[in-house]
Symmetry: C2
Subunit: 166 residues, 2 copies
DNA sequence: CGTGAAACCGTCGCCCC
DNA sequence: GGGGCGACGGTTTCACG
């Protein structure tokens, strides 16, 4: 399994930075039990190895005026690889689409979208998404309310698994 | 609409910190065109007003050994508010469930889950989720591959909207 | 991995508009 | 009200052991 090249200190660093990405390096070093310079070296190594893809402020979309969140299930006409890639590329270009994942089962993609209001979303839905090449069906579900939105990965599960396998 | 109390500098700050949450304050100040002290004051104000909920490192779940991502659609038996809240509370306690959103339409909730492997997920699915109180139906879809995962909010859309309304 | 030093940054008080 | 200047203390980030 992956992640085996990381020692417990590296995993603690990742967990701490996932919880608070703006933590100072000295605070981080104190929490993981080493001094600042090697701690910073580990962080840089984790970044370059791709374990850390970036750091992002978590902005409140509703407070900013994005009052609509929608999940869209998309079925395509053709599932040939070139056509799948073409659809994915289009999703990357649509700013209202924040996430796009290819699924197994009866539906081909799930999209998470945000919009300032319903009419903006419906314009996008009818003019862009539904009428895009190769799109066969779109089913949308409005988010009534959010109940949980945890960042990233449950490190507790990883630790439990590693200690069980050891 | 919300977000009207933010001037263009505040919005630029949010956009920059969403793109790079570890940017130093002097770099941020340079990019938004003011000096460091007022820039830091604005950031603190945005944090306290709830526009910024936190900062998180974006860790690569697959590289860390979480090779399975699943969307689960959950239908409940009772949609009374107390029962909805009880289910949401349970989702908050399950570490494999990273997101839980209440939806309109035929399904009540959509859950985004991660797990180290399929058997871990299936154990969770059968022993925890499907057999939880008040759960009527669960349909799961495995993520074959991720095509887009943009953080937060499309500020371009916000700016376009504000300039159109002005 | 730790120590020490130098450059940089976050932060405050004060002044300005 | 918000923005800029200067200075102090803490932090980042070297080179070296």
């Amino acid at each position: 399994m992956a992640g085996h090249r990381l020692d417990p200190i590296d995993r603690k660093i990742l967990a701490e930075l996932q919880a608070d990405g703006r933590m100072t390096n000295v605070e981080l070093a104190k929490r993981v039990g080493i001094s600042a310079p090697p701690c910073l070296r580990r962080v840089r190594t984790l970044e370059e190895a791709g374990y850390i893809r970036g750091y992002h402020a978590d902005v409140d979309s509703r407070e900013l005026g994005f009052e609509v969140q929608v999940f869209a299930m998309v079925g395509l006409v053709s599932q040939a690889e070139a056509d799948l890639s073409a659809f994915e590329e289009r999703c990357r270009e649509w700013p209202l689409v924040r996430e796009c994942h290819m699924l197994n089962g009866e539906v081909d993609f799930i999209l998470k979208c945000v919009a300032p209001d319903l009419s903006t979303f419906q314009t996008f839905l009818t003019e862009d998404l539904t009428s895009a090449d190769n799109v066969a069906s779109v089913k949308t579900s409005l988010v009534i309310r959010g109940a949980k939105d945890a960042p990233g990965v449950p490190f507790e599960v990883l630790e439990e698994r590693l200690s069980r396998d050891a």
